[in-house]
Symmetry: C2
Subunit: 207 residues, 2 copies
């Protein structure tokens, strides 16, 4: 499945989200043209994207919503059951730990790390064990491949450690720059950059 384009890959979670919403509303079948209106992606792009994973549409009929969901979920990692860790249990880290829509995600956050584990463990809203960051090596779950980084500074050193411990992917909320070790993948979630992009677009379109 390594031949699916980057662009397509980024749309899969969008489709899955939309399909789940439709399913919840009781929709049993959907046309690529309907889905198109729903997610603002051209129907022909949708059909091509879908066809890359197999042929599960029916001409003259459309797609079966629940079938699509189960295929997507499988492909997108529902069955992977990743054991993830979170590093940095500040306000943002806590918000993520408490996120109430974790259903159907690729796995779960098993534990967290912080420089003040005692304090964090006392917080009523933190529902996984928090260990000291120095215990990373001892406490990281077997086979953990994904880490969520919510620390304000010192990212580079931690990323290097994670790399040595076999972590392959990082969801990065840090604004600090760090060099990504060979073979790792990083996804930035950056509110500031997102706002900048948006402002830029809004202003270049409307002015």
């Amino acid at each position: 499945m390594g031949n699916i384009s980057k662009a397509t890959l980024q749309r899969y979670p969008i489709y899955l989200k939309a399909l789940r919403k439709l399913s919840k509303e009781g929709v049993k079948r959907v046309l690529s043209s309907e889905l198109s209106e729903y997610v603002n992606i051209k129907s022909t792009t949708i059909r091509r994207d879908f066809s890359l994973m197999g042929q599960f549409g029916k001409q003259g009929y459309g797609y079966d919503v629940d079938e699509l969901i189960s295929i997507f979920a499988k492909e997108l990692g529902e069955d992977y059951d990743e054991k993830m860790i979170l590093i940095g249990v500040g306000r943002l880290g806590t918000a993520i730990l408490n996120y109430n829509n974790w259903d159907y995600v690729a796995g779960e956050i098993v534990c967290a790390f912080d420089i003040q584990p005692d304090k964090r463990n006392k917080e009523p809203k933190v529902n996984v064990p928090v260990y000291h960051i120095d215990q990373l090596k001892e406490k990281i779950p077997q086979g953990c491949e994904i880490a969520i980084l919510c620390i304000p500074s010192g990212a580079q050193e931690i990323v290097n450690q994670l790399h040595e411990l076999g972590v392959k992917g990082i969801v990065n909320f840090t604004r600090e720059h760090f060099i990504l070790p060979e073979g790792m993948i990083k996804k930035d979630v950056d509110v500031v950059s997102t706002i900048q992009e948006l402002v830029f677009e809004v202003n270049s379109i409307h002015k």
Copy 2:
């Protein structure tokens, strides 16, 4: 400036972030090849991206870091001074309001809205006035074009209201689906989808 490609546009904030870091470290000039290593983008792509905004590199010398910063900052909206609003002052909303790296962003969050404004206003960490969501029309700042959406549900109605009030761009933290009114721009910040993407990539590359 409407002819700058989408792909390029998404890289501008990355450049700006990196350049600021370099500047803080005392770096006065930078080569596209150096920056390339720093941000993991091919140097030739960087030069092309830069050249779209004008010619401010010098052959045989490179780019002046501070000059680049001031140009980028201007283009990316530093001078726009957007008055932004935030809707939904839960854990995530609060985390955003308290974000400690707001320096240099395109504007500021002027006020927030919630269904429990009294409760939210009492929170020590909330540093802007919080109004009831029903007062949106009265309290929205003059010329506000950007809204940050952190509510768990009911997005569609609010988006429609925002549209009528002249808001043009939405930073969307909601996982709920909504139809984007004509002319509006939306940027999704979705941790769950991001993790799914990452898991998918990690698993398709390493297996």
